[in-house]
Symmetry: C2
Subunit: 258 residues, 2 copies
């Protein structure tokens, strides 16, 4: 959506194209160089930062909608987007006031029964990317974007601070169950590299020796016979994700080695 | 809902009271005596078994709706119901045909734009109970109920077999992260008791000594100084869930001891 005319049509007739009462919010975690950040957008007509989000088309598969919305708002494509929670415990029209402010600001004359004034439940998705490798391009609705440090998130629109907290808790819980780091590390990596990634995501220090032993015993990574020369006297062994065995285990819902 | 008049009103005017496009399905796992079962209902007017489910009132918090629906359909109350996934990848009106059959069977004259003929996404919840301790009472919509063994689930309505599979995978994944067994075991239990529960839920054999060591090292259970006399020469030690430490860890999203 890139013109004011399209926006006008979206507000007035969007309910013909999109399912009412439901939206999607995406929490995109960005990791790079021992920093964990979150992608936030500045929405036009709304005072503040918010998550990339949007609506589901009437005949569109849910996961396809999640990918399309992210692509439209940010140009991010082909992410491993994971659904994690539906936020629907507020019985109020959380976005009603914002939608009214928006329509007033743009001088749109709409009825009190406009679809955007309805109660809307939000389905949360998250992904983890290397933010140094992605380029973000905003659309008409979003005037600016920024990667914010997870420890320094500003007050967000609606109940989105709660959405971010839940996403972070889920990411931390799943980091030992899913090969979440797969796209963030080289195919063959050193223990120091995966150790840094896990410490950053979990936001705490981890004893490096115990950490390595645990990841190997969980069947998450395996030690290779290769070493990488990183200095005159430093050639650490390389490791690799046990991707296949891991995915099999995940399918069966059994990822522990108990 | 208990009379034909109420059902008639629900079909014709339900969209005034409930949010369209969204429903809730509950997978109630029942454990007892080394058996794991699932509660299924026989819906009137529909040919087959299905999950307890229903719709969200327009101003009703989502989790409250999940509890109300289960209570109305089955009389089960105060369960630890956990949301686990939204099923929305089918772009079709999965329940349209069923809704049409139902209205025809009951001679209800409704328009083609009836709210029950719309595409509906389903939010899945699950819980784990001791099925020997619950009494199920069905409502007008559900003529019968039965606890089915998880290894022997019949073909279910709509896409509900997928819902059950995903619920089971989630339960198995979370059994080492949440005190899921808390309500299924006595406050103080033997290793044999918790071992049976976990073997049954996971559907596989677990070495009892390694299993106990792992649960203790994960901080999930602790060994007490007490023993229980269960025979002339048998007095196994008792164990207890580390409930508080465990819940703290869970809040922080950190449940491992790495």
């Amino acid at each position: 959506m890139n013109s004011e005319e399209e926006v006008n049509d979206f507000v007035k007739n969007g309910h013909q194209q999109y399912l009412p009462h439901l939206s999607i919010d995406s929490v995109i975690f960005g990791y790079h160089d021992q920093q964990l950040k979150i992608l936030l957008l500045k929405w036009i007509g709304l005072d503040g930062w918010g998550l990339p989000g949007g609506f589901i088309r009437r005949r569109e598969p849910l996961s396809q909608a999640a990918h399309r919305i992210l692509q439209e708002r940010t140009s991010l494509e082909d992410l491993f987007l994971q659904q994690f929670h539906v936020f629907g415990d507020s019985p109020y029209r959380l976005q009603e006031r914002s939608a009214r402010e928006f329509t007033e600001k743009y001088g749109l004359v709409v009825g009190d029964d406009n679809w955007l004034f309805e109660r809307t439940l939000s389905i949360g998705y998250f992904a983890l990317v290397d933010y140094s490798k992605v380029s973000v391009r905003t659309d008409f609705f979003t005037t600016d974007y920024r990667w914010w440090d997870v420890s320094d998130i500003p007050p967000l629109l609606f109940d989105q601070n709660e959405v971010v907290e839940k996403a972070l808790a889920t990411l931390r819980l799943q980091i030992y169950h899913q090969p979440i780091g797969l796209n963030l590390l080289p195919e063959k990596f050193t223990l120091a590299e995966i150790h840094s990634l896990y410490e950053t995501v979990l936001g705490k220090e981890l004893d490096q020796r115990n950490f390595a032993k645990k990841l190997v015993s969980l069947g998450l990574i395996k030690k290779l016979a290769e070493q990488r020369a990183i200095g005159p006297h430093r050639s650490p062994y390389l490791y690799q994700f046990e991707k296949e065995a891991y995915e099999d285990a995940l399918k069966q819902g059994i990822v522990h080695t108990y």
